[in-house]
Symmetry: C2
Subunit: 482 residues, 2 copies
């Protein structure tokens, strides 16, 4: 069976057995099984544990070989000394694919390495491919499989994650779901004794539900293969990677975590650049970047216009643009003329555009999107003003009705303006990075919902917008060069 | 009248007049007045505008001199050409203090500068001190005064903010309130034509409700005075400052924003260090830092223990500690013995402590807090596990009752353990920085509420925890040295 078929069984199993199923909360065998029961959805779920007759309302089989029907996927969470014999039984049962949650293998030293090699031999000879060991599980939103006990329901969407750390992935989902990101598939790859990061990458490259591939990486088992795969994939699907182990101490820690062979950080930087991989520095930047790739057109260059409500953010933005190698050009004469025609004489007369006391509004933004001197715009504040105005409650009761009507009209108008803006971004191929929110925009409201849905969720600080924008520019430069 | 008295009137006015009050949403005179009406609370609020008879249900006076009673605070939002005559009328009315929202003065060039000088002359000769121009307002939670239209109700607490940017402050409050921070006073200082950053700083140093002073700064009008004040204040109250304008372009932008004379960045770094000011790089770090100063004891040194659920975060943490000049020492033999006595043989046998498959728990944390080799602990994940477990819903209905009871017991036990941890942090003077949350901890729950209330809100990524911890260490070193 080809690797792809094994991964098909992994992500679309019709039957799943939990080996080491437990009745005790906190045991992985309990956590995984109960999590699986929340997304049963027509799938056969089997509990295997020779100490019990029943686990979580399911008959408990002594061994996987006793299960009556076929088993596509086996989740193995048993003590280390039973891992190999359990795998042997999976071979007997003709299980297609396994996930080994159990840890204590190659990451702990020579003895664990020996067991791990044996495990790989048994599986390979028996026609099984497996994920892990020392991993957290996986999901596929399309087939409603979710084996990670501490993840909530995940929103369906176009982003996949391969993570060499289970724990880190939780952070990614937290931040991602908050920003409106939906996910297609996830796998916590653990020690990668059998299936490697590169196998998942190749699979996701072909996966129709996946448009962007994110990875948390400590080290590559097949560096050359990764490079060749990435070089092809990034032409069609962006790959965003956070590679940890930048410091010497970090590299050492990476080895004791997943037995990863972390290479020199500077070499990796160069390799990523050559194959078009977008490298980020923090877990939160994986999702910051994914959101931008989904919601923004790729900028033609690095000339940025800043539109800000208030000069403080202008100063902060200028610092952030400089730090990230972006430019802050003069506005074209046309833009100057348009802005002069309706802005108060207090305005900043240049880039950054600060209406200085007047509100940031879409009619200020539009000529900037059209400006031939600008490749992108960062807009700070000014969004959802009507929704976030805290004074509505102070309006006397006899005027309340009119105030409510005014607010409704303003929100409606802004929605119209926002939609026009989104069209213009496409038309002119200019990213517009929304940044910071006035308070109320965090509360559900039409503007906020639209921003979230269109992958335009505002970044918290100008630094993040500048960082993300610089990486969009680099990715576009790479795409044009290949 | 001494400056302090003027500021007393600013923060505790019994009567406030809004000059330029308007009936049109979007005009500052409308926004400020309606916001003030939400926190009237026994104060006299007057509307001044000679074009109307009534604004927002209040009688509109032609001029402030027509107001029957005394006026402690005048909010001035009038066109530039009326600013000086308005101030003259405030003098006639014997207004104590004013806030000039109007912009277009010194920040725009020579002509504006001239008006600004005239304004200062009129005020000074007439016994008025004023905030601004070109500012956003202020608040004092103790007296329920809030003049910023786009701020929600602010939680009362021990943190004050002086900001040379109104817009930036909104970001600070957003992030701060999310992290459970409460605020005492705020002032958007604008151009500082009359009252300077240094005046507010001196005032807040004496303010009983303020334990921590945060500042957003583009440039100091009285650098020497700032230095002398800060040197005294930081012995008792921490001062946290974000100074923007790091790049040359940023310095230029700062001038056109608030006419600030931004000095060399490297010089400022040295100055801040000499007077014990904690400098941060991003707006979000102001509140990250304030939370830590409130919730954490100051660490005795830079030796950090890391406790992490999963090795990925261990690698990331090690990188972050190195980057921030922190150390990762060996655990003491005592700690090793204790951990060996109950952890599975898979555990990492060292620092970072990774129970590798088992849950992070308080009994692992406790010997680390007691460890003589460690000055602080960063704990990643593992908090609120019972609340965030997503498998509860998968438990068969006949077992639901027991599951709910189990969950309740677990949450109760964790709360007990958390409280014990907080006591130990004090006893051993060891910070414990909680980092990342499993999903459910974001939902209200006892553990989360306690963390928030005790200023232990988890930081999103290890990088933030390491950065904050390094600054706590530096502040403590400074305090010991003076």
């Amino acid at each position: 069976m080809h690797c792809k078929e094994h991964l098909d069984y992994l992500f679309n199993p019709r039957s799943i057995a939990v080996i080491g199923a437990s009745t005790v909360f906190g045991k992985w065998g309990f956590n995984i099984l109960s999590r699986l029961l929340t997304c049963k959805d027509g799938k056969q779920i089997y509990a295997i544990n020779n100490k019990f007759d029943e686990v979580l309302g399911l008959k408990s089989y002594k061994s996987i070989v006793d299960v009556p029907g076929p088993v596509d996927l086996a989740m193995i969470s048993v003590p280390l000394s039973y891992v190999c014999s359990t795998m042997q039984e999976c071979v007997e049962k003709r299980v297609k694919t396994a996930i080994i949650i159990s840890s204590g293998l190659a990451e702990t030293g020579a003895e664990g390495e020996k067991i791990e090699r044996e495990l790989v031999n048994i599986a390979r000879n028996g026609g099984i491919r497996f994920v892990g060991p020392n991993c957290l599980g996986h999901f596929n939103t399309a087939s409603n499989v979710l084996t990670v006990p501490f993840l909530p329901s995940i929103k369906k969407g176009p982003v996949a994650l391969i993570s060499q750390s289970g724990n880190s992935s939780q952070s990614v989902f937290n931040h991602g779901l908050e920003m409106g990101l939906g996910f297609s598939k996830f796998v916590s790859s653990g020690n990668e004794a059998d299936l490697h990061f590169e196998d998942y990458l190749e699979y996701l490259a072909q996966d129709k539900e996946t448009k962007i591939i994110m990875g948390y990486v400590e080290g590559f088992r097949e560096g050359r293969r990764f490079f060749n795969l990435a070089k092809e994939i990034t032409k069609k699907k962006p790959i965003i990677i956070m590679k940890s182990g930048r410091s010497d101490a970090g590299i050492k820690a990476a080895h004791s975590h997943t037995a990863a062979l972390a290479g020199s950080d500077a070499v990796l930087d160069a390799v990523f650049k050559q194959c078009g991989v977008i490298r980020v520095d923090e877990l939160s930047e994986l999702t910051d970047m994914a959101v931008a790739l989904l919601g923004q057109p790729l900028p033609r260059g690095r000339r940025v216009g800043v539109l800000t409500m208030g000069g403080g953010m202008a100063v902060i933005s200028v610092d952030a643009l400089r730090k990230n190698g972006l430019e802050l050009p003069k506005l074209s004469q046309r833009t100057m003329d348009i802005l002069n025609s309706f802005l108060s004489p207090r305005w900043s007369y240049g880039n950054p555009v600060d209406p200085a006391g007047d509100f940031v509004s879409y009619p200020i933004l539009w000529p900037m999107i059209e400006d031939e001197n600008l490749d992108a715009v960062i807009i700070i504040g000014g969004v959802g003003m009507a929704s976030s105005f805290a004074g509505w409650a102070g309006i006397p009761s006899e005027m309340k009705y009119n105030a409510r009507e005014l607010r409704r009209q303003m929100e409606e108008k802004e929605l119209e303006d926002l939609n026009k803006t989104i069209s213009m971004m496409k038309q002119y191929q200019k990213p517009v990075l929304f940044t910071t929110m006035v308070w109320g925009a965090k509360r559900p409201g039409k503007i906020f919902k639209t921003l979230k849905k269109r992958y335009l969720y505002p970044y918290a600080v100008p630094e993040t917008s500048a960082k993300v924008l610089a990486k969009l520019v680099e990715y576009h430069e790479y795409c044009k060069s290949v």
